[in-house]
């Protein structure tokens, strides 16, 4: 079998699979009244979200607000305390194990660290989901893996081990792996964190082009405001368990919520104070 190299055929190949899975609704993920606790701490307190098919949706918020937790809830790794999460019309938290695993084959998730399997090389990492879920002959797996690696620009790195990759390359390999089964959507957990400007640019471009070329739906969780806003169609800002702002990037630029302003503009002081609550400075120094 001849390897399909150019983007055009990659596009067609994936478009076909996408059409087959297209369902009637144009909302891929629908979250209603989500409540979730971690121990005594309430992480989400009544969150509603709609993620449109084919869009890039950003979910932003400070560290520790529960962005990763939200992705795990969507992926069915955690169960909400109250509320509904529908993915492609199916309630993830109420599916049987088998149905959930079938649904997950249509979701890709890119973890913060890449989560590559450390004892397999780049090629085998991308081949992993194909080997686990299909009985395709080796020649076809090879073709598919090389196509996915070509799409992220790392066809030449197929023999490297994960430990030999830079952070940016590891994320691109993980991205190739996430699209190996031609999913309908991909969730990115902080894809830009800790990247140098060049790999940041590469990732920004990849997320955008893959979303359009493969007809994906993308959810990007991040606190890198500029990069994320530049590629997203819609943004949710969450804080303290609630959605505190939403809209297109343009709408959020002109929001009148001071909190969202501070977050989007990255100001050190504002509704979120620079100082952690403390007793009066002068009194504190003069004590003792």
């Amino acid at each position: 079998m001849e390897a399909v190299r150019d983007n055009e055929s990659l596009y067609n190949h994936c478009k076909m699979t996408e059409n087959r899975m297209d369902s009637s609704t144009d909302t891929v993920v629908q979250i209603r009244g989500l409540v979730f606790d971690r121990g005594r701490r309430r992480i989400f307190d009544g969150v509603d979200m709609n993620i449109r098919r084919g869009s890039i949706t950003a979910i932003m918020g400070p560290s520790g607000t529960g962005k990763t937790t939200l992705l795990k809830l969507i992926g069915g790794q955690l169960r909400p305390k109250e509320g509904e999460i529908l993915v492609d019309g199916e309630p993830v938290h109420r599916l049987s194990r088998r149905r959930l695993y079938l649904l997950r084959r249509r979701m890709g998730m890119l973890f913060q660290t890449g989560a590559l399997l450390t004892d397999l090389n780049v090629f085998e990492n991308v081949a992993f989901p194909l080997r686990e879920h299909t009985d395709l002959p080796n020649s076809i797996i090879r073709t598919l893996v090389l196509m996915k690696l070509e799409a992220v620009g790392l066809r030449g790195a197929r023999a490297l081990m994960p430990a030999e990759l830079s952070g940016g390359m590891a994320r691109r390999v993980a991205l190739a792996r996430a699209i190996a089964l031609d999913p309908m959507m991909i969730m990115y957990d902080e894809p830009f964190t800790g990247q140098d400007p060049i790999s940041m640019g590469v990732l920004v471009k990849l997320i955008k082009t893959l979303n359009h070329a493969l007809g994906l739906t993308s959810i990007v969780v991040s606190h890198d405001v500029q990069e994320t806003a530049s590629i997203s169609d819609y943004i949710y800002v969450i804080s303290e368990g609630k959605v505190v702002g939403e809209g297109t990037p343009q709408q959020l630029q002109h929001t009148d919520s001071p909190w969202v302003r501070q977050f989007m503009d990255g100001l050190p002081d504002g509704p979120v104070p620079f100082h952690y609550p403390a007793p009066d400075y002068h009194k504190d120094l003069l004590q003792c």
Binding site: Q77, F111, L116, E132
Partner: protein, 259 residues
């Protein structure tokens, strides 16, 4: 006072919750058996990792333990003029006790700690979550092969330890200290009972294999997913295994030889 009572209560709740999780975990992992039959490669690779790679340690330790038994046994027995029973003494201690117990302790230090660290690290680097999101069950793909490999490897390693230990004891006792070779072997042969000694020793090694591997994989899977959590889990794995092996050894010995 009330505070410490409350802490005690919380602590025992934690312990019981953990025991519950460990039991559930064990059953889930055992249920991964069909996958092992369909894909024997997974199991064979783990048998190599936990079994074959432990052989050198187990053989050397067995050899030294056997030699020490030879020396000490000769000292005690010669006071009563019973040197000829050296073979029985060495074989009985190894087959009944030292073989399974010392092997289990060494196995937990060598293979168990490695299993805990490996699985813990996979958890901390989100490889387990990543697998789940790729619709691959880490319980079947990662945990089950390691658990079964440990359970299969432990009795074999224990048999190896015992065999080499007896050879070590022979080396010290017969050529070095001059015990009569004929009585060394013939007394051993007539006094060691197949059912009473060997079968019970095998049962012990199987039980210890289950305990050590179960603790090792569970501690890894249940660890707090940070580097600190992984290192603590690795320590716990070895410590808990040692306690569990010695404790259950007492119970098993009481049941088997207690009359």
């Amino acid at each position: 006072m009330l505070d410490s009572l409350q802490r005690l209560g919380e602590f025992s709740l934690d312990v019981f919750a953990k025991l519950g999780r460990a039991n559930l975990f064990f059953l889930q992992a055992l249920a991964g058996a069909p996958e092992m039959i369909l894909r024997p490669g997974l199991l064979i690779r783990q048998l190599y990792m936990v079994g074959v790679l432990s052989i050198l340690l187990i053989s050397l330790s067995g050899f030294f333990v056997g030699m020490v038994l030879g020396l000490q046994g000769y000292n005690v027995l010669s006071d009563f003029g019973a040197e000829e029973s050296l073979g029985v003494m060495i074989a009985a201690s190894l087959v009944r006790e030292l073989g399974p117990v010392v092997t289990a302790l060494l196995f937990s230090g060598r293979a168990g700690s490695a299993l805990t660290a490996e699985i813990g690290l996979m958890k901390a680097t989100e490889q387990l979550s990543g697998m789940e999101m790729m619709a691959v069950d880490p319980m079947r793909r990662i945990v089950a092969p390691r658990l079964y490999a440990g359970i299969l490897a432990m009795p074999l390693l224990s048999a190896m330890f015992t065999y080499i230990g007896i050879q070590g004891g022979y080396l010290v006792g017969v050529p070095l200290l001059g015990v009569d070779e004929g009585s060394f072997w013939s007394q051993m042969q007539s006094s060691i009972d197949f059912h009473e000694d060997i079968v019970n020793g095998i049962i012990k090694s199987i039980v210890f294999g289950i305990i050590v591997t179960w603790i090792a994989v569970f501690e890894g899977y249940d660890c707090i997913p940070t580097s600190e959590g992984v290192s603590r889990a690795t320590t716990h794995s070895v410590v808990y295994s040692a306690f569990a092996v010695l404790g259950s050894d007492f119970i098993l010995t009481a049941l088997m030889f207690g009359e």
